[in-house]
């Protein structure tokens, strides 16, 4: 096991064009997204606008539309798209052997 990456489970439990949540005790809840192509991304589960839970938005291509007021957030960079300005932290993730690994340091950032 690599100490820098946390295994958070099989990728098939993340629906394509969907998202699920990953609470971090004492830290920021993370939203994991999967695109139509099977790529996986992780962002803090907090819209830069008014903290909407991005995990509940509609995913299309590599953006998610926030469920509260329809800001579009890039899954790649966390930046708000179009006219809106704001950015949510992204966390490195990778898929290896059908399992999702998330970068330990970034995932735990802020947690005690």
């Amino acid at each position: 096991m690599d100490a820098n990456w946390l295994d958070i489970g099989p990728v098939d439990q993340l629906p394509a064009l969907g998202a699920r949540t990953l609470p971090v005790q004492g830290g920021q809840e993370i939203a994991l997204f999967r695109t139509a192509n099977g790529k996986v991304f992780a962002l803090h589960n907090k819209c830069p606008h008014k903290q909407g839970p991005l995990s509940q938005g509609i995913v299309h291509d590599t953006t998610v539309t926030c469920p509260l007021h329809n800001w579009r957030i890039s899954l790649l960079t966390g930046e708000a798209q179009g006219e809106d300005k704001g950015c949510v932290p992204t966390i490195p993730v990778k898929v290896d052997g059908g399992r999702i690994f998330i970068a330990r340091a970034e995932a735990l950032a802020g947690a005690r």
Binding site: R20, L22, P23, N37, K50, Q56, H60, L68, N70, L108
Partner: protein
């Protein structure tokens, strides 16, 4: 003697990379080495990628041999075939084979390729489970195909699909099981994967995506494959084509550095200066490859380093094609997109073509082509050269011939201008360029006007861009680009009405099918068109519709209303606004048990429980279900509430049983999905205490019967209802209501309330359909009631029973310094 002084090169692996490396070395310096090649397979070197055509019956083994015995002899190479190397002694510079033979070396080349990966499910070692890697595997498959029967191929990647195709052509019934939602997901996007799946299914193969194998069943031989969801598929053979693993065992045991593959530098040298490696078994700059193109480049670099002088291998960009006859598919590079990327998409439904080129800073970074791959190599070249394509950007999707036609032609409008007058623009309606241009000159200055008078682009719509091009050329500055009827969204040029009509005409039943047929310009739509399409499909095909939860807004996905803090509100249905102690007790208990932040009486005569977390929703619903309550659909583009007043039972002015009728209306229409929310009210007399005249459908009871009112809205723009008609019986009131709802369901645009819809189509139209046409009315009512047989299932109860459980559970949980899976 000269011979004594030659260095000795030993090659492990008589496959594609091993032999190619030897060829490259001989081409540079035929005299340099004494060469011995060990090969585990009992045969000469052949072209592995052509095993697919051999399986399909397009080639024989002899035709795919690359180097026959004479080649080894002529070049003085000793081939030790059918004998695998089992150990390398690096100190003694010697290796040992299975047969006991030892061989010393000065330089050693490892080219052991990869091994097929076998998923370790129960039964994976039963006879009849076959991999797809070498000629022996093909022979096993051919022997099985001879006996006919059923083949299950696990893996919907390149290899799996080629195996399935071969076995299908050999007469077997083939089922492909693929874990992911789309075929070849590493090479194709969803749109192309969908086309591929449809084509293979049309040919007669069964393709199951999202299929997770649990077990291979059988006593002494495979009999069936069992999926995790319990499905069992009978099988006479199972072909496992789920992936490959670099064959690194020898290197590992010899103490060489191994990551995912044997680690080599740019000269293909391992950490031991006398040992080299090439092919699928290596890891170079962190990458391992599974295609042949990189091997050729590796072998060149290796040969340079071993003879004339190092040139170095820098890694490869790869592209993929599928070797299934009649299916043209090409993919290269990265098409995961992103905001600094731009997608150029072209779809031609009539010819089954989908093309997508991804640009980043004016350079091609990826391409997916389906149906017409003629330009694949051109895109691939532009991509590898990292060429700036800004000059031909507008025309790039039309391909090389078009885009390279020089400055003038690179502008698509110029290309349209260059067409002759009798060139056909609209294939569906046979409209020529000449007639469109004269229509424009005669005053049709907008797309809609041209459509109206020539029919051009009015059917499938794929020539819309060409027609707009003609407008621009003909009118120049005067063409505003404006259209009277707006397209659904930026993803398409079709209007809502077009999309609805074509879904029915072309019998489109899934979102990707609509996007392909209607030339969507984005790969998977957006948050505005996907929910609309999902609704149109469910309305068009009530019996067959498969829900796409990812195309639902969160409220409809979670069957609760999201709140500003990310919690949810829960509104149980209270038929007609009537409740009882048992329901009130259950609600009170839920409020306390789940520590709900607030419970409120709503404007629609229901109780709304606030502050529930998504993880708790199923438990809350279970408690409410237990007291007999179902979902109130307060979250849905659906029937919301039927508001009633007390009516003739209690009220001194009441003329009819407004409460009872309200409950009947709600029982009839709950659960129905609609273009937008839909509210009903029944008032017992014209004092109208239920505010029926600002509802989508309102009833005001009078002594002589029921006044049916439609199109009211108390929201953003206040609109009082219009009187539809007056009826005498409850039965009629119910029938008219059902027919009205169905007309609205079938004809309104998604997200239109009834008020703006009626403003647009006119009250007279609605009267004509509902009041004047009795037959039409009863057909509408019947269609509504038919759809209701599918829709009236309490979604809460389904979730309580475990449906879509993942929506209510975290994927996992991180407690600092430990990750704990939730499932």
């Amino acid at each position: 003697m000269v011979k004594e002084q030659k260095e000795k090169l030993v090659v492990i692996g008589n496959g594609m990379a091993g032999c190619r490396a030897v060829e490259e070395i001989l081409a540079r310096d035929p005299e340099r080495y004494d060469i011995v090649i060990f090969g585990a397979e009992p045969r000469v070197n052949y072209n592995r990628i052509m095993l697919s055509p051999v399986l399909a019956g397009d080639k024989t083994f002899d035709e795919i041999v690359i180097n026959d015995e004479a080649w080894y002899a002529d070049n003085g190479i000793e081939l030790v075939s059918g004998d695998s190397v089992i150990a390398i002694d690096r100190e003694g510079k010697e290796l040992r084979s299975r047969s006991g033979r030892t061989e010393s070396y000065d330089r050693l080349l490892i080219a052991t390729g990869s091994d097929p990966f076998i998923i370790p499910v129960p039964g994976h070692d039963l006879p009849g489970v076959i991999t797809f890697r070498d000629l022996d595997d093909v022979e096993k498959m051919l022997a099985a195909a001879e006996r006919g029967g059923e083949a299950v191929v696990i893996g919907g990647g390149l290899l799996g699909l080629e195996a399935a195709h071969g076995l299908f052509l050999r007469g077997m019934e083939v089922t492909v099981l693929h874990l992911m939602p789309t075929l070849m997901e590493r090479q194709l996007d969803e749109a192309a994967g969908f086309l591929l799946k449809t084509e293979l299914e049309n040919r007669g193969q069964t393709i199951l995506t999202g299929a997770d194998t649990a077990e291979i069943v059988g006593e002494s031989h495979v009999e069936a494959v069992k999926l995790k969801d319990g499905t069992e598929i009978p099988a006479d053979i199972v072909v496992m084509a789920v992936g490959i693993r670099p064959n690194v065992r020898l290197a590992l045991e010899a103490g060489l550095e191994v990551g995912r593959g044997i680690v080599v530098d740019d000269d293909m040298r391992t950490r031991d200066p006398s040992i080299f490696a090439v092919g699928e078994c290596v890891e170079h700059r962190g990458l391992v490859y599974g295609l042949v193109a990189p091997l050729w480049e590796m072998c060149k670099a290796l040969a340079d380093g071993c003879t004339t002088g190092a040139t170095g291998y820098r890694g490869s960009v790869t592209s993929t094609k599928l070797k299934v006859s009649g299916i043209d598919l090409f993919s290269a590079g990265d098409f995961s997109g992103g905001e600094d990327c731009e997608d150029v998409v072209m779809r031609d439904a009539a010819r089954g073509i989908y093309k997508r080129v991804v640009l980043k800073q004016d350079r091609i970074v990826g391409a997916v082509l389906y149906g017409d791959t003629a330009d694949g190599n051109w895109y691939f070249d532009l991509m590898r050269q990292e060429e700036d394509v800004s000059d031909i950007r507008e025309a790039i999707i039309f391909g090389q011939a078009f885009a390279s036609g020089g400055g003038a032609l690179a502008d698509p409008n110029a290309a349209v201008a260059a067409l002759s007058d009798d060139a056909e623009i609209c294939g569906c309606n046979g409209v020529s360029k000449g007639s469109i241009v004269s229509a424009i000159l005669d005053g049709s200055g907008t797309l809609d006007a041209v459509r109206g008078c020539t029919k051009a682009s009015a059917s499938c719509g794929s020539c819309t861009n060409l027609v707009e091009g003609l407008l621009t050329i003909t009118l120049g500055e005067d063409y505003s680009g404006e259209r009277e009827v707006k397209p659904m969204c930026g993803c398409t040029s079709f209007t809502h009405e077009d999309a609805r009509r074509l879904i029915l005409e072309k019998e489109l039943k899934e979102i990707p099918a609509v996007m392909q047929e209607l030339h969507w310009t984005t790969p998977d739509g957006c948050s505005s068109c996907r929910p609309a399409l999902n609704y149109y499909l469910l309305c068009a095909w009530p019996d067959e519709h498969k829900e796409d939860p990812q195309s639902r807004f969160v409220n409809e996905r979670l069957h609760a209303n999201i709140q500003k803090d990310g919690s949810y509100s829960v509104v149980p249905r209270m038929w007609g606004g009537i409740t009882n102690p048992r329901e009130l007790r259950a609600i009170a208990d839920v409020v306390e048990k789940y520590d709900a932040g607030m419970v409120k009486v709503t404007g629609g005569q229901r109780l709304d429980i606030f502050g529930i977390q998504k993880e708790d929703l199923p438990a809350v619903w279970a408690d409410l279900n237990a007291a007999g309550m179902v979902s109130g659909h307060a979250y849905g583009k659906a029937l919301r509430t039927v508001k009633t007043c007390v009516g003739s039972d209690w009220c001194r002015f009441g003329t009819q049983d407004s409460t009872g009728l309200g409950i009947k209306m709600e029982r009839m229409s709950w659960g129905s999905w609609m273009p937008h929310k839909f509210k009903i009210a029944v008032s017992g007399c014209p004092r109208n205490c239920a505010e029926a005249t600002i509802k989508d459908f309102g009833i005001v009871c009078v002594d002589s019967g029921y006044e049916l009112m439609v199109g009211g809205n108390g929201g953003i723009h206040l609109r009082g209802t219009d009187l539809l008609c007056k009826v005498e019986t409850e039965g009629e009131a119910l029938e008219f209501c059902a027919a009205f709802i169905q007309l609205y369901r079938e004809e309104a645009r998604y997200l239109d309330r009834t008020a703006p819809w009626i403003e647009r189509v006119g009250l007279d139209y609605v009267k004509q359909r509902i009041v004047e046409d009795a037959e039409g009315r009863s057909a509408l009512r019947d269609r509504f009631l038919h759809a209701q047989t599918f829709l009236q299932k309490d979604p809460w109860a389904e979730r309580v029973a475990g449906a879509e459980a993942h929506l209510h559970q975290h994927l996992a949980e991180i407690r600092p310094f430990a990750a704990v899976g939730a499932e």
